[in-house]
Symmetry: C2
Subunit: 210 residues, 2 copies
Amino acid sequence: MSQSSALSESGSSSETGRAAFAARLRALRKARKMTLQDVADRSGLAVSTVSKIERNLMAPTYDRFTRLANALSVDVSELFADRSNAFQAGAFEVARHGDFGFLETDNYTYEMLFPDVAGKSMVPMLGTLKPLEQMRFDAMVEHEGEEFLMVLEGRVLVQVDGRPNVILNAGDSIYFDSRRGHLYASAQDTEARILCVCTQMVRAAAPDQG
Amino acid sequence: MSQSSALSESGSSSETGRAAFAARLRALRKARKMTLQDVADRSGLAVSTVSKIERNLMAPTYDRFTRLANALSVDVSELFADRSNAFQAGAFEVARHGDFGFLETDNYTYEMLFPDVAGKSMVPMLGTLKPLEQMRFDAMVEHEGEEFLMVLEGRVLVQVDGRPNVILNAGDSIYFDSRRGHLYASAQDTEARILCVCTQMVRAAAPDQG
DNA sequence: ATGCTACTTTTCTGATCGGAAAAGGCGCCC
DNA sequence: GGGCGCCTTTTCCGATCAGAAAAGTAGCAT
């Protein structure tokens, strides 16, 4: 008893998601049309144990945990992640040229590709960059994840916080940690076109309402 | 499979890699210059518990588990995955046009971009596709992760297992689950150029060497 | 219905976990 | 050396987990 106040398992708020986990576990088993016995055999656990875990009557320890993942042949992380609106297995989507959602900021015009594919682990977008003189320079962006940029047309100036500026020509590319502040601009007086792929959604960087 | 192949758990029913897990946990804490007390506070666990877990004297249950991940502010999956050669924080690398490692297969010529950046979560590559008639069709590739493909030049035929074939023109792109077998080819009698980004390393698909 | 079979839940007991407090280190200052 | 923080490990015991076996539930024959 006692100390658990801070942890408060009972409170729905600070749940560690065990209920969801339990449900996921059962769902995974059912999806494979396996019985408790099957899972028990493949994992080396007792049937009763699997049953209790699935009904959230018991919190499995590390070992049972990994064995369960193993028995269901999923990566352990899949047992934790809520994939309810995750990338759908077997997903497949085509984006025709010009077929996308626009995202306009002070500095950029981005065309988000595949805006309808939820939970994808990469976010590809096409960008049109204004010339340097027209840019606001207080608007460096930083966000979680990694970023890949390739220049399709024109010349692009890339500023990454704490790194020397780089000029990229068409066909050049750059890969960096998005957590560093970064900023792109056309390096000439015409617009440039880029393809940019992030591993995480970029918040529609509020330009100056800071 | 994927990640921990090298770790070789061997006996499926024996060790579940807890020792490695324990070590990783301690390493993570040390890297953050946190004490057992710190982790205990942030996780709501007892100091002794954290100590025991780190020394592999105890197998934490689901709840302690997620709390620990939380306290160390890592994703739970990171506690399982061995990131010994992970992406370096603040990484930043430029690839000039023509500056890459070649990867030649029966069907494709790929140019891996940023081959030296280890542990990046996206693997971008440029590809030159031979015309359809010259392709081997028994060599569909499938691998973990997701895949993004954009056509830079030419017209490309994309076959994805269980999906209708698609012809992409320059500027078109496609996003799909790489676990479905897939195959690209130039849809005309000249070569096509593509940019392809995967979320996982593509094994140098041995075409038919058993 | 009765029985049969396949699957799941409950029960009960030993094993292990989890936490508070006590006991070790260890470096440092006086 | 003794005292003193700081961090870690050990001890001890209640709480929880884990498994074997018993009991319950459901489908499906006869």
